[in-house]
């Protein structure tokens, strides 16, 4: 079966972002960018399905600026067979991303589409669910285990109270949680090979989707900073402060 994986180019998760002084947005100039960590997990899962002989082809897709090709090349180096780049320099909200991905799903007809549960820039946690709704496919979100069994997909989901297992009728949509797997690193020879793998480029216009959004960011501010506190010298002092100063005991 064919597996489609959606990857997003985001700020590297180790970078602490800064808000622009005019509060219009966060400052991304010269900031290290990377594949969204949840998307790395999605790619890893797809590649493992291929290694197990369950998947026959892994296709990586991204919606984003020209530079997002880097993340597609990373996906190819990690084991995807080919890539699709829906290229636009405009900002793309989750709904528009889901609509574009729905078009790609329509064209590619994957049995399984894997996305991250959340992009760590917008922290939206929406696209997989939206894609499932738009394509009329069932969804297994926040997956920590995925098992293909004939035309059914068993997905174990991380929910607030513990774990839930559901059965989905394939074709289906899955979003990854942190404990689904531990992604591998790309090896140098694979990075070289990835440069020769096919990468197709499309535009939102060609797919007939507008990336306009009814949602506008009107300001971006830094969060209220916490005042740095004090160090206490002993457990006694800690208990005393909590009782008499903070009055929380």
């Amino acid at each position: 079966m064919k597996v489609l994986v959606a990857v997003k180019r985001v700020i590297d998760y180790n970078v602490k972002i800064r808000v622009k002084p005019d509060h219009s947005d966060v400052d991304l100039t010269n900031v290290k960018m990377a594949m969204n960590p949840f998307c790395e997990i999605a790619v890893e899962e797809a590649v493992r399905l291929k290694e197990k002989g369950v998947a026959s082809e892994v296709v990586a897709v991204t919606v984003g600026p020209k530079a997002a090709q880097e993340q597609l090349r990373t996906a190819l180096a990690l084991g995807a067979d080919r890539a699709i780049h829906v290229q636009t320099e405009a900002p793309v909200e989750s709904l528009a991303a889901a609509k574009l991905l729905a078009k790609v799903v329509g064209e590619e007809q994957p049995q399984l589409t894997i996305l991250g549960k959340q992009a760590i820039d917008s922290d939206n946690n929406q696209v997989g669910q939206m894609l499932a709704a738009l394509t009329g496919r069932p969804q297994g979100t926040f997956a920590s285990e995925v098992e293909v069994d004939g035309d059914t997909l068993k997905v174990t989901r991380e929910i607030d109270g513990g774990l839930q297992t559901v059965a989905l009728k394939l074709p289906a949509i899955v979003t990854t949680d942190l404990r689904l797997n531990e992604p591998r690193y790309a090896k140098l020879p694979d990075i070289m090979k990835a440069k020769k793998k096919p990468l197709d480029t499309k535009t939102p216009d060609e797919l007939g989707v507008s990336v306009d959004s009814g949602l506008k960011r009107v300001a971006v501010e830094p969060p209220a900073e916490r005042q740095g506190g004090v160090k206490v010298g002993s457990v006694d002092e800690l208990v005393d402060k909590l009782k008499n100063e903070a009055k929380v005991l």
């Binding site: 966060v26 669910q129 926040f142 607030d160 969060p223 916490r226 929380v248």
Partner: protein
């Protein structure tokens, strides 16, 4: 236009979070007007509906009692919300794994954006929400006819329970041929729920093992606290995944948060830095957690924890 709040419930009980979401709905209603309805979907949910009707500000509780909603599967619940949404200008849910699972379906099927995890209502169409793991707060304005919103419960004070809303059954059992429930393994605990606890004691990789988490038990017992964990502690298998606090785990904002053997990565801070008082116990005096802690104790946790328990 009216506002619909999707009730969160577990084990036959209305979750406390719903009262916080109704508070957000009241703030929207104050600016934009409209009644507040609550939707209770599930199987055998009459007690939950009664509890929801007691929440202040709720005019009407709409009850979809049907086996198809028993496990809150996203596909039928999404279809139900789509069927009802025509009556509303806003649909709100808790930013829980249930709310996050189903609301984007309503948004997509209504061709509108979703506004995730709001922490403030500026007006009926303008909201604040954290982005980049809480390192920036965005103000977003929605021009969509239907506003689909998940709410971070800790950011809104719960409404009281002196109301008397009407209860109405809805006859809308939708079909679900796409997904089915297999089983659930819920963590049992006598402690307060992590998201709602007044005190949270969390352990990190520094705890060293799952057994050592028992060192936190005695302290949590004395403080009536919930026990949380960092991702590293969960990944190492010390404790269950539902205990993870952070950007991609639970968001907590208790009166007192005690971080033990946790370094203070931004992803962890995202989940707890709105706590009123933060205590950090860590043997590394350079650990970033000390930058947000009101009280920092540089100590080996294996010595500090037994002493703390005995002195509480």
């Amino acid at each position: 236009m009216s506002i619909l709040v999707l009730a969160e419930h577990h084990d036959g009980q209305l979750a406390e979070a719903t009262a916080h979401v109704v508070a957000a709905a009241q703030q929207i209603a104050r600016d934009g007007g409209g009644d507040i309805d609550v939707l209770v979907a599930g199987e055998g949910v009459s007690a939950i509906a009664e509890a929801a009707a007691r929440l202040d500000g709720v005019s009407r509780v709409r009850v979809a009692d049907d086996a198809v909603y028993a496990h809150q599967l996203a596909e039928p619940l999404g279809d139900l919300l789509v069927a009802l949404s025509g009556d509303y200008g806003h649909v709100l849910a808790t930013a829980s794994t249930t709310g996050k699972n189903v609301l984007p379906r309503l948004a997509a099927l209504s061709d509108v954006s979703q506004i995730s995890e709001i922490i403030a209502v500026e007006s009926a169409d303008t909201f604040k929400r954290p982005i980049y793991a809480g390192n920036a707060i965005a103000t977003v304005h929605s021009e969509d006819a239907l506003k689909v919103i998940t709410v971070r419960p800790t950011a809104f004070d719960a409404v009281g329970e002196t109301g008397g809303g009407a209860i109405e059954a809805i006859d809308n059992g939708v079909d679900n041929a796409l997904s089915s429930f297999i089983d659930e393994r819920l963590e049992q605990s006598d402690r307060p729920e992590l998201g709602a606890a007044k005190v949270v004691v969390s352990g990190g990789r520094g705890m060293g093992s799952g057994e050592n988490f028992q060192l936190l038990d005695g302290i949590a017992d004395k403080l009536g606290a919930a026990i949380g964990a960092s991702r590293a502690a969960v990944d190492a298998g010390f404790v269950a995944n539902d205990m993870q606090v952070g950007q991609t785990g639970k968001i907590v904002a208790p009166e007192l948060y005690v971080a033990v053997g946790i370094s203070g990565a931004i992803q962890h801070l995202a989940g707890m830095k709105d706590s009123k008082v933060i205590v950090a116990i860590n043997k590394d005096e350079e650990a970033p957690i000390f930058q947000v802690a009101d009280y920092g104790l540089v100590a080996d946790l294996f010595e500090a924890l037994p002493e703390l328990e005995s002195k509480l």
